[in-house]
């Protein structure tokens, strides 16, 4: 039996007095699509951001493809990981942000390939060819030379997905990728994510799009107050919720 692609063990994160994560255990198998649902402030984002160490956990372990993230085992105990090592792990973990965070001084194609050329050392011509393929795939073949500010939110998020794909990551983390979009632009982004999922990418998606979670995910994880309250197949979670908190949450959100 191979190890999980992502493994989170007893993860705690405190922001001062606030306990954002309260002992999370989660394992995600290669190729699995996991949707995180739950109210705002339930810890979904913090969990995702902790997985690639954009947040430093208060305690607990994170493993990506069997490798400890952010810490190294030393004879005397744990030590912080060097920036270079951490960067190497992050290069295999794609991240798509709610607010896109495309680099505004670079055109769309340059946004997609910056990581490939800077981190992977890929030749510009090769990276460019591959970047264009990815932009074609996310439906932006007319926009190679456009700058982010000239794109709609949906287009920007599709560029961000192409940027993540360009690193050939082992997993992609989506942090509420459609929450900042106008309603009519949500569909195109979800469609793109569905395509990525269908190709076998391991994905963890924090989302409020219940229809997407039901349709695309292998497993749905409901979080509340920094804990995983309930998880299971979409049918189990959406059609036969067991916990009262999940039932109340599902009653409140559009399905």
């Amino acid at each position: 039996m191979s190890h999980p692609m992502i493994e989170v063990r007893q993860l705690h994160k405190h922001f001062g007095e606030v306990q954002a994560l309260n002992g999370i255990d989660l394992a995600v198998a290669p190729g699995e699509v996991v949707c995180l649902i739950g109210p705002s402030g339930s810890g979904k984002s913090t969990l995702l951001r902790s997985i690639n160490y954009l947040e430093r956990p208060t305690s607990g372990d994170i493993l990506v493809d069997g490798r400890l993230v952010g810490q190294v085992d030393k004879p005397g105990g744990r030590a912080p990981m060097s920036g270079r090592e951490l960067a190497r792990i992050r290069s295999n973990v794609g991240m798509v942000f709610q607010l896109f965070y495309l680099w505004p001084h670079l055109c769309v194609l340059e946004n997609v390939i910056l990581g490939a050329t800077q981190v992977r050392g890929m030749k510009l011509a090769e990276a460019s060819r591959r970047g264009r393929e990815l932009l074609d795939k996310v439906g932006l073949s007319q926009k190679y030379d456009a700058y982010p500010e000239h794109l709609s939110g949906g287009q920007r998020q599709r560029v961000a997905i192409a940027r993540a794909l360009a690193m050939d990551p082992k997993v992609i983390l989506f942090d509420e990728p459609t929450s900042a979009l106008d309603p009519e632009l949500v569909g195109e982004v979800l469609q793109t994510m569905e395509t990525v999922a269908a190709e076998g990418m391991t994905m963890i998606v924090a989302t409020h799009e219940m229809a997407f979670a039901r349709k695309v995910s292998d497993r749905v994880v409901f979080m509340d107050q920094g804990r995983i309250v309930e998880q299971g197949t979409p049918e189990q979670v959406f059609d036969h919720p067991r916990h009262e908190r999940l039932k109340r949450f599902l009653d409140r959100v559009p399905r």
Binding site: G83, R90, E110, S128
Partner: protein
């Protein structure tokens, strides 16, 4: 003596222009050192290490809070106490670079901090290391933001090189004073010197306009050379925004 007469002053123009070369040298060299130093200070000021932040804060506090004129005298007269005798020009270069670094560090810091932290996170998320993130993501954006205040400061700094005259650096101002003290044509000579300063700062003003335009990628579209490097076809007529 009563009326203005440039015919008496113009023969000294070559002398003034020669001194202008030293003014340009002093301004450019100290601005360059002050920019490099200012960048390092700004990175220190935005560092996670509190002692480093504190040290940079103190440096800026002292050098921005005391007159450049005092720095010039201080370096010039204090150097022998450390066993070195500095002639006027090196003393001026040191003093003006240190002051320039203090001002530039604050300008550059404003630029660095104007780049949204999410931009840096996105770069971290693709696995870029800190030096690459600074170079490829933060600085290109910060540069654009700081051009107006940076160039304003460069212009002030260029004019401030005239202060080096007090420690006998024979730059434009001292040269002008020397000339008019022997010719008694102060108004004419000062007018010429003023026009030369104005010409220098005009060059900087034009440079600022050029830089602002050159860095406005979004408005101008992808440049032909970047386009070629990326293997994109040349932009067709009329597709420019």
């Amino acid at each position: 003596m009563s009326s203005i007469d440039f015919s008496q002053a113009l023969p000294y123009l070559p002398v003034l222009l020669k001194a202008t070369l030293l003014t340009i040298f002093l301004a450019v060299v100290t601005q360059a050192i002050g920019t490099a130093g200012g960048l390092l200070l700004a990175l220190g000021r935005t560092s996670r290490l509190a002692p480093l932040r504190g040290a940079v804060w103190a440096y800026v506090w002292i050098f921005r809070g005391t007159p450049v004129l005092l720095h010039l005298f201080f370096v010039y007269y204090a150097a022998p106490m450390f066993g070195v005798t500095l002639s006027a020009l090196p003393a001026a270069i040191i003093a003006m670079s240190m002051s320039s670094a203090a001002y530039n560090s604050e300008i550059i810091r404003a630029g660095l901090q104007a780049v949204h932290p999410g931009q840096v996170e996105a770069a971290q998320a693709v696995g870029m290391t800190y030096p690459r993130i600074i170079r490829r993501v933060v600085l290109p954006q910060a540069t654009r933001i700081v051009i107006p205040p940076y160039m304003s400061n460069f212009i002030s700094h260029t004019k401030n090189t005239s202060l080096a005259s007090v420690i006998t650096v024979p730059e434009l101002m001292l040269s002008a004073q020397t000339v008019y003290s022997s010719t008694y044509r102060a108004v004419e000579i000062l007018t010429l010197a003023g026009l030369i300063y104005l010409a220098l700062t005009t060059v900087l003003t034009v440079l600022q306009m050029y830089l602002e335009r050159a860095l406005a990628h979004e408005r101008r579209g992808l440049s032909a050379s970047r386009r070629r490097a990326l293997g994109l076809p040349p932009r067709s007529q009329g597709s420019a925004r």
